[in-house]
C-alpha cells in the first residue's frame, strides 16, 4: 500500500490515540475543549447503545424477522462523534448506515426497522428529526443535501448575525460513493454556491468487497481540493477528534464560509450487510488488526484512565441496552403488514387516474375472493 494511497493513515487528525491517551493538538483542541467527562460519557453511552441495537437487528435478521440489516459495527465513533456536533437548526442527510447518527437525532431506533422488515421504504418523519430518509441509490442524496443547504442559505439561516440560530447541512456517504458522478456534481454545486454543507465521508475501507483503492489512488479527503473546498482527514475511530473536526466544519458552514469535506478513516467491522460474506474478500488478520482499534474500547480506556466511567453508569447503560433490545424484538414482531390497498397510497399527492383505476380494480379483485369465500 503506497504511503499516500487512500488507505494510508497519513495526515489524520487524532485527539485520542489507540490506547485511549489524549493527543495534544493545539489546532483542534479548541473544538474539543467543551467535552467534559459528562459529554464523553454520553458519547460512550450512545456508541454502546448503537452497537447493542446493531447486534439486536443483526440477530433479528438472522431469525428471519428482518429482510436485511446494514451493520454500522466499528463506525460508532465516526457517527456519534459527528452526530453530537449537529445542532437544532442543522439538517442531516444520511446514506443508509448511519444508525448512530439517527440516535443522536432522537430517532426511535426500533421504529427505523419498518424499512428493514419490508413494511415501507421510509420510516421516520424526516422533517421532525431534521434527519432525511435513508437513500439507497449511492450518492443520489448528496445533491439533495446540497440543494437543501442552498435553500437554508436563501432562507437566511446562515451567517444570520446570531450564530446560535445559524444552521448547516451535514451529508454522509461512503468511500465508494465518491466515485459517483452525483457526488462530484454535489461538490460542484456546493462550491460555486458556497453552500453551507459538510460532506462527511466515512471511509470504512470497503464498498461491499472493493477496497478504497478501487475508487481512488489518493486519500479521499483530497477530492475536495479539486473543487476548492477545504477538507480534513480524521481518525474515524477517535470520537473526540471526529467531534472536534465536525464542530469546526459545521461552524465554518453555518458562518457562511461554505462547504467542507471531512474524511473519517474507519473500518467496517461487520460484513457489508447481512447478505454479504466478508470472509470472501478480506483476511481475519486485517479484521483483527482493526478490532484492536475498536472505537468504543478506545474511549472506554480513556474514561477508565480518568476514573470517569463508574460501575453504576455502566450498569445503567447495560440495563438500557437490554431494555432496548427487548423493546426492539417485541416491536418488530408486533408489526402487522398494513392493508394491501395502502400500497396505492402516496404515489401522488393529488389523485392520478391510472392509480385510482388500478386501486379500484384491485379492491374489486380482492373483494371477489372474499365474495367467493362467503359463497363457499
Amino acid at each position: 500500500m503506497e504511503a499516500t494511497g487512500p488507505l494510508s493513515d497519513e495526515g489524520l487528525v487524532q485527539l485520542l490515540d489507540v490506547d485511549g491517551t489524549r493527543v495534544a493538538d493545539p489546532d483542534w483542541e479548541p473544538y474539543a475543549a467543551h467535552l467534559t467527562p459528562d459529554a464523553l460519557r454520553l458519547a460512550w453511552r450512545l456508541m454502546t447503545i448503537t452497537r447493542a441495537f446493531d447486534a439486536e437487528a443483526t440477530s433479528l435478521q438472522r431469525q428471519g424477522e428482518l429482510g436485511l440489516w446494514v451493520s454500522c459495527l466499528g463506525q460508532e465513533a465516526a457517527q456519534i462523534g459527528s452526530g453530537t456536533a449537529v445542532r437544532e437548526p442543522d439538517y442531516v442527510f444520511p446514506s443508509y448506515r448511519e444508525h448512530g447518527v439517527a440516535l443522536t437525532r432522537d430517532i426511535d431506533l426500533p421504529q427505523m426497522l419498518t424499512l428493514f422488515r419490508g413494511l415501507e421504504h421510509g420510516s421516520w418523519d424526516p422533517v421532525a428529526h431534521s434527519f432525511h430518509l435513508y437513500t439507497l441509490v449511492i450518492g443520489a442524496h448528496s445533491l439533495h443535501a446540497t440543494g437543501y443547504a442552498m435553500a437554508m442559505d436563501r432562507d437566511g439561516l446562515v451567517a444570520s448575525g446570531s450564530p446560535d440560530k445559524d444552521g448547516a447541512v451535514i451529508c454522509y456517504f461512503g468511500d465508494g460513493a465518491t466515485s459517483q458522478g452525483d457526488v462530484n456534481e454535489a461538490l460542484v454545486f456546493a462550491s460555486v454556491n458556497n453552500a453551507p454543507i459538510v460532506f462527511f465521508v466515512q471511509n470504512n475501507q470497503f464498498a461491499i468487497s472493493e477496497p478504497t483503492t478501487r475508487q481512488s489512488r489518493v486519500p479521499l479527503a483530497q477530492r475536495a481540493d479539486g473543487f476548492g473546498i477545504p477538507r480534513v482527514r480524521v481518525d474515524g475511530n477517535d470520537v473526540i477528534a471526529v467531534h472536534a473536526v465536525t464542530q469546526w466544519a459545521l461552524r465554518h458552514a453555518r458562518a457562511g464560509q461554505g462547504p467542507v469535506l471531512i474524511e473519517a478513516f474507519t473500518y467496517r467491522m461487520a460484513s457489508h450487510t447481512t447478505s454479504d460474506d466478508a470472509t470472501r474478500y478480506r483476511t481475519r488478520a486485517d479484521e483483527e488488526k482493526w478490532r484492536q482499534r475498536d472505537p468504543i474500547e478506545r474511549l472506554k480506556k480513556h474514561l477508565d484512565a480518568l476514573g470517569e466511567l463508574p460501575q453504576e453508569f455502566r450498569d445503567a447503560v447495560t440495563a438500557e441496552t437490554k431494555a432496548l433490545g427487548k423493546r426492539t424484538r417485541e416491536t418488530v414482531k408486533s408489526w402487522e403488514r398494513p392493508a394491501l390497498l395502502t400500497m396505492f397510497d402516496h404515489v401522488y399527492a393529488e389523485p392520478h387516474q391510472q392509480v385510482e383505476s388500478e386501486r379500484a380494480w384491485f379492491d374489486r379483485y380482492q373483494q371477489s375472493f372474499l365474495d367467493e369465500g362467503s359463497h363457499a
Partner: protein, 350 residues
C-alpha cells in the same frame, strides 16, 4: 372595490385579458405570473439567465427577478434536478429548464429513482412540487440529440405527471397549473410550435390554481375538433398535424374527431374511450417511435375498454425504430400529414 361605478362592464374586462401570443411568449408570461404570485417559485437551468434560454423562453425574467430567482446552474443535469429536489424539501418550487430533450438523460436517475419516488418513500410526508420544462420533439432541422421525444421513457414511472400543451392558451394555463401542482410535473414544450401564435385569455386560469384543480386540469384531454368517423389522438407537436388531417379528410367526406391528449401521465382514458366508442376507429399520432411509445398504451387501453365498439385496429403513426435521423431526413421520419391521412384511409377501409 369602492370605486364600482368606474368598473368596465364584465365582457370588456374579459376581452381585455385576451392577447395574441406565441407559445414561447405564453410560457414566458405564465412563468412570470407564477413568480409574481409566489416568491418561492424559482427558475433553474443552463443559460436561462441573461441569455433568456436558448429559445428565449425565460427572456427578461432574469432582469426582473434577479439571479437568485432565475439561476444559471452549472452544466450538470443530474445536479440541477438533484439540488432542486433538496430545495423543494424546503418549500421552493423550482422550474427547471432542460436545454434540449436529448440532454435530460444525465438526470434520468434523479428523476426516476428520487423525484418520482420521494413522496411514496416518505409515506406522503415529503412533497416535491418541481416542474421540469423540456423543449422536446423535432422539426427544427437540428443536430443530433436536439429532437427527441422522451415522454414514453418517463410515463412508465409512477410518481411523475407529464403534460404537453399544443396551443399558446394551454401553454399559459398549464405551466402555471404545473407549478401549482404538488406533484412533480414534466412539462414538455413542442419546440417546433414555440413561434405559433394564438389568442390567450390570461385571466381564465386564475381561479384554477389551487393544487387539486390545477392537477386535475393538467391531466385532462380535450376534444380539439369533434367528428364522427375516426378519432385521431395527438398531443404537443402533432396536434396541428392532426387538425390539418381532419380538414383534408373532411374535404374527402370523412369526419375526423381530434383529441388533444394534453396529458401523457395520467392518460385521460375516459375521454379517449368515449371518443373511440363513438367513432369505432382510432389513429394515434406522435413523433416518438411507435414501438413502445405512448400510442401502444392507448391502443392497449382502447382495446381493453372499447373492444366491441372497434371497427378497425387502432393504428399508430409515429417515428421509426431508428435514432432520430439527421436533419435532412426528419421531414420523412416524422408523422406527416400524408402519413396521418394514409392511416385514416386505412381505418376507413373497415
Amino acid at each position: 372595490m369602492t370605486d364600482t361605478h368606474h368598473r368596465a362592464p364584465a365582457v370588456t374586462e374579459r376581452e381585455s385579458a385576451v392577447k395574441t401570443m406565441t407559445m414561447a411568449g405564453a410560457i414566458n408570461a405564465g412563468l412570470r405570473a407564477a413568480m409574481e404570485r409566489d416568491p418561492k417559485v424559482l427558475l433553474m437551468g443552463e443559460d436561462i439567465g441573461q441569455l433568456g434560454g436558448v429559445f428565449r423562453v425565460t427572456d427578461g425574467l432574469h432582469k426582473d427577478f434577479g439571479g437568485d430567482r432565475v439561476m444559471d446552474t452549472p452544466l450538470a443535469e443530474s445536479g440541477i434536478v438533484g439540488t432542486a429536489i433538496g430545495m423543494a424539501m424546503r418549500g421552493y418550487t423550482s422550474v427547471i429548464e432542460i436545454q434540449f430533450d436529448g440532454f435530460i438523460f444525465p438526470a434520468f436517475n434523479q428523476i426516476t429513482t428520487q423525484l418520482a419516488k420521494m413522496h411514496y418513500r416518505s409515506g406522503g410526508r415529503l412533497t416535491l412540487p418541481l416542474v421540469i420544462r423540456v423543449p422536446f420533439a423535432g422539426g427544427i432541422g437540428a443536430v443530433e440529440h436536439h429532437s427527441e421525444s422522451i415522454e414514453a421513457l418517463f410515463a412508465h414511472t409512477a410518481g411523475l405527471r407529464i403534460c404537453s400543451p399544443a396551443t399558446p392558451q394551454d401553454a399559459f394555463d398549464m405551466i402555471q397549473q404545473s407549478i401549482a401542482s404538488p406533484d412533480p410535473v414534466m412539462f414538455l414544450e413542442p419546440k417546433a410550435r414555440y413561434w405559433d401564435k394564438g389568442d390567450v385569455d390570461t385571466d381564465a386560469v386564475r381561479t384554477r390554481l389551487d393544487a387539486a384543480a390545477a392537477t386535475a386540469d393538467i391531466g385532462r384531454a380535450r376534444v380539439a375538433r369533434p367528428g364522427t368517423d375516426v378519432t385521431v389522438i395527438a398531443y404537443g407537436p402533432t396536434v396541428r398535424t392532426a387538425l390539418q388531417a381532419a380538414d383534408v379528410a373532411s374535404g374527402e367526406g370523412t369526419s375526423v374527431e381530434v383529441v388533444d391528449l394534453r396529458s401523457v401521465s395520467p392518460l385521460d382514458i375516459p375521454t379517449v374511450v368515449r371518443s373511440a366508442k363513438r367513432t369505432g376507429r382510432v389513429v394515434v399520432v406522435h413523433e416518438a417511435p411507435t414501438a413502445h411509445g405512448v400510442g401502444a398504451e392507448l391502443a392497449a387501453r382502447i382495446g381493453e375498454e372499447a373492444f366491441f365498439h372497434l371497427k378497425a385496429p387502432v393504428l399508430r403513426v409515429g417515428g421509426f425504430h431508428t435514432p432520430y435521423p439527421a436533419a435532412k431526413f426528419e421531414h420523412d421520419y416524422l408523422p406527416s400529414l400524408d402519413r396521418v391521412l394514409d392511416a385514416v384511409d386505412r381505418v376507413m377501409t373497415h
